[in-house]
Amino acid sequence: MDHENEQKHKAPNYMAIFYWLAGLTVVEVGWATLLHTNRKPLIIGLVIFAGVKALLVALFFMHLKFERKTLGLIVASTLILGVILVSVGMAEHYLPRP
């Protein structure tokens, strides 16, 4: 059964992950409050914080780090398609029209 997977590798320190997630949320709100007039560093910082939090949830809570590589490939391919979708939409706005 798949729960044997968790027993084969050492279970992650879920509380440590929780503290990271909670801490990053506090940092995010502080970052947004302090830099609300400075758009570029605001967006870059918040995207990085959100990305790290999402990775922590995906890798440790969803156990993607301990699953087979096949699953990681399936999820990664979906994310790549998502990035392409959003990039095309933004390119439509930013690139000059012919």
Partner: protein
């Protein structure tokens, strides 16, 4: 003992070509489709936001401290969910029931707070939105309620499933040997949390 009883007692998982349990694989495939669903919503928000010069600063319309607390509550629910699975794997059924109940409670609190937030936004009259902030008021209102509304609906469905799973746990139907449903539901629950992490950042903070 009859052959049927023997078969039920010694339940054997059908072999999987991927090495991953069938229901877990099914949930992952479903979550991949949900990634595309939310990418469409979030991507639309991003494109519309950057194309619109009159988009208000979210902090002037939305209650950031309340939503930050709600984000924290959803993160807590993810922790209790993963602890429920870990407890089930160890055979600690009492802790499994406790953590499942806490996850259900946190999920219900999240939905309630979001409901309060919606009610306040719809009924409070501000300088920007004298008739209340609603989907008709502006493009921001329309996109905000659509995106967070769909996420809230996903959380609601998760809460309903969580109530069913918690009920099963208290009826003694989940054991150390048979609790795959917790992991499968947990994947959905963590996904819903992950989407909120992205939504909170993009809609409320940027």
């Amino acid at each position: 003992m009859s052959s049927v009883a023997i078969a039920e007692h010694h339940h054997v998982e059908p072999p999987s070509s991927t090495g991953i349990a069938h229901d877990k694989m099914g949930m992952w495939v479903f979550l991949c489709s949900e990634v595309m669903f939310f990418t469409g919503l979030i991507g639309s928000y991003i494109v519309l936001r950057f194309a619109s010069p009159l988009w208000p600063q979210p902090s002037t319309v939305l209650n950031i401290p309340l939503t930050a607390m709600n984000t924290f509550i959803l993160i807590c629910s993810s922790v209790t969910m993963v602890q429920a699975l870990s407890s089930a794997n160890r055979g600690d059924l009492a802790k499994m029931k406790l953590f499942l109940s806490l996850t259900l409670l946190f999920g219900a609190i999240f939905i309630s707070i979001q409901g309060v937030e919606y009610w306040k936004l719809l009924h409070e009259h501000t300088t920007h939105y004298p008739n209340g902030f609603n989907p008709h008021a502006s493009l921001f209102g329309s996109v905000f309620f659509t995106t967070t509304g769909f996420h809230g609906f996903h959380v609601f469905c998760g809460v309903v499933c969580m109530a069913y799973m918690t009920g099963k746990a208290f009826l003694g139907k989940l054991t150390k040997e048979h609790h795959q449903g917790i992991e499968t539901l947990g994947l959905y629950w963590h996904f819903v949390d992950l989407v909120w992490i992205v939504l909170f950042t993009i809609i409320y903070l940027i």
